[in-house]
């Protein structure tokens, strides 16, 4: 376990370093291209300042920004006891130092993510659609996947790498747009020296334009490649924590086959944080392989279902090799010395639920998040009282009984 975390930290630092070099080189090229030789230093300083500011902001409150942007609402035990209990179960299984904060997102598309800087201050968010569709074992699998992200320190990596990526994209965009507008004015406005210097500067300018176009693409590809690997590792971690890979497998299947529209609050940079790619692309699997943030769900499901001998990393690694016919994603040092048996699930055979019933559940969960009061009249009519209804009694619209609203 510790070897895996250490390897992940090392990869994170490596990625940070590569991205920092790309960012600084970009600043250098743009500075030299626009302002000539002395401008290189200026560009470097600007790039560093942009990077530092974004780094500080993301380190101090990146998770809060992200949660707010996803419109996630913090919830307590009362709103959804089962979700709360499952998170606590997984927190115990993973021996996390503190209970993660729990958020619910008002969206019918089933998905989930984890964020935060370190395991002590992590947060887990799930959509209302996820809660309405999954049974206990499946929800446990999803939460175990998110807790694994926290345990493996992926959450810090995604936040910092996302910010770095953001800075690179920002600088390239500002430069390219600046070029576009300034090229409409006088062409040689910035040229400083004699004839030779001018030619060198034009060369630098061309290099800068190429760099500004190529750098974001490179950074994206690198980011996505690493985040794909981390998804596999989090799946392996989830199987290890729950001892029940089928839970996550069937949850992923349900998420993949869900007919809801795609998640509202997701973009290309934040997509790797979710358990399943929030962007729905049908077909064109081969083309999207390089730019995809997640491995294909069908493949993840097949790997999990191939784990018939045990729940250790070693078993996931074997299943991975059998399904994908390629080398393992799990670092060799994490493979040794564990024999973990599988267990049976404990959720009962679920009834086939009707689509409308599911949507009603999503609605009820969101009303609970938004502090609606619920009560049942003696005529079996269920009333949902919004928080801005101030009176402490309400008349049942069907049978006319006067009912007390609890807690008012």
């Amino acid at each position: 376990m510790w070897e895996l975390i250490r390897a992940n930290k090392r990869n994170s630092i490596l990625l940070m370093a590569v991205m920092a070099i790309v960012l600084l080189a970009l600043g250098l090229a743009i500075g030299a291209g626009v302002f000539g030789g002395e401008g290189a230093l200026f560009g470097l300083i600007i790039a560093t300042v942009v990077w530092l500011i974004m780094m500080i902001v993301s380190y101090a409150g990146g998770d809060q920004i992200f949660l707010a942007a996803s419109n996630a609402k913090p919830v307590t035990h009362d709103v959804h006891p089962q979700l709360f209990n499952i998170v606590e179960e997984m927190k115990i299984a993973a021996a996390l130092p503190a209970m993660p904060k729990i958020y619910i997102i008002n969206d019918p598309a089933p998905n989930a993510f984890a964020t935060g800087r370190k395991p002590e201050t992590a947060s887990v968010a799930v959509t209302a659609g996820l809660l309405a569709r999954l049974n206990r074992d499946e929800l446990q699998g999803v939460i175990a996947h998110e807790i694994s992200h926290i345990l493996h320190r992926d959450i810090l990596f995604v936040t910092l790498a996302g910010v770095m990526l953001g800075s690179i994209v920002l600088i390239s965009q500002v430069f390219l747009r600046g070029m576009f507008y300034s090229s409409m004015g006088s062409r040689r406005r910035y040229s400083s020296g004699g004839k030779g210097g001018g030619e060198a500067q034009i060369l630098m300018l061309v290099i800068a334009i190429i760099a500004a176009i190529a750098a974001p693409i490179m950074a994206y590809l690198l980011y996505f490649a690493l985040s794909r690997k981390r998804e596999y590792l989090a799946d392996a971690g989830a199987a290890r924590l729950t001892r029940y890979p089928e839970g996550l497998a069937s949850a992923l299947e349900k998420i993949a086959n869900d007919p809801s529209p795609q998640l509202q609050a997701a973009n290309k940079v934040t997509a790797p944080m979710y358990i399943a790619n929030p962007f729905k692309k049908k077909g064109q699997r081969k083309l999207s392989d390089l730019t995809s943030t997640h491995p294909p769900i069908s493949e993840r499901v097949r790997i999990l279902r191939n784990m018939t001998h045990g729940a250790a990393f070693k078993d996931y690694s074997n299943a991975f090799a059998a399904v994908t016919k390629s080398a393992s994603v799990v670092p060799v040092t994490a493979l040794a010395g564990e024999e973990i048996a599988l267990r049976d699930g404990d959720a009962k055979q679920e009834k086939q639920q009707h689509q409308r019933e599911q949507m009603r559940q999503v609605g009820d969960i969101m009303r609970k998040v938004n502090q609606f009061a619920f009560l049942t009249c003696s005529c079996a009519l269920k009333l949902k009282i919004p928080p801005n209804f101030k009176a402490d009694k309400v008349k049942c619209p069907r049978c006319g009984n006067i009912l007390d609203i609890p807690g008012r």
Partner: protein, 186 residues
């Protein structure tokens, strides 16, 4: 002369740093083991606290299940009264068995299963049972890591110097618990 002294000094410093590093790692692992152990305790206690509420809610609906209730009450009393680890593990095992029997009986009482209060208590109990087994699982994981560190070279030298001792795994006492429960159709 000075060079030799310098080399010896450097070696001593390196060895010292190594010993400090391993010692701190061992202490951290041991604390994690202790912490996991206390988690098991917390969850067992929570189970004891939940049972009276559950019984109270169920009693009104299940008038003909005196024996089931008595078995749970007795097992709970035995588990709470146990004062050494072996007894406690045995009593908790019996309590777990009594509770799972109770949950099977509940299936015959649709009215009870529709009771909102009972449903939430049932979720709490299911979760507590899960937490107990996950706490046990995590404890065993931590013990494995700790024992490996103590036994493997070169950290075993430091462990020997400061008398770190191996911890025992938390095994389920009763062999019958590992078997699938037998169903009697007579």
């Amino acid at each position: 002369m000075w060079i030799a002294l310098g080399i010896i000094g450097a070696i001593i410093v390196v060895v010292l740093l190594f010993v400090i590093g391993v010692y701190n790692a061992l202490v951290r692992l041991r604390n994690q083991v202790d912490n996991s152990w206390s988690q098991i305790d917390v969850q067992l206690k929570r189970r004891h606290d939940l049972i009276p509420n559950l019984m109270e809610t169920a009693k009104g609906y299940m008038k003909h299940e005196r024996e089931t209730f008595e078995a749970i009450t007795q097992a709970r009393a035995a588990a709470m009264g146990a004062n050494n680890v072996a007894d406690a593990a045995k009593a908790e095992g019996a309590l777990g068995e009594a509770l799972s029997k109770f949950m099977l009986v509940v299936e015959n009482y649709p009215d009870l299963k529709a009771n909102q209060n009972f449903l939430s208590l049932q979720e709490e109990l299911t979760s507590t049972e899960n937490k107990i087994s996950f706490a046990r699982q995590s404890y065993n994981d931590q013990v494995l890591g700790f024992n490996n560190k103590i036994q493997m070279f070169p950290s075993n030298i430091v462990a020997g110097m400061f008398a770190f001792t191996k911890r025992d795994f938390f095994e389920i006492e009763d062999a019958s618990q590992r078997e699938v429960p037998k169903v009697d159709f007579s």
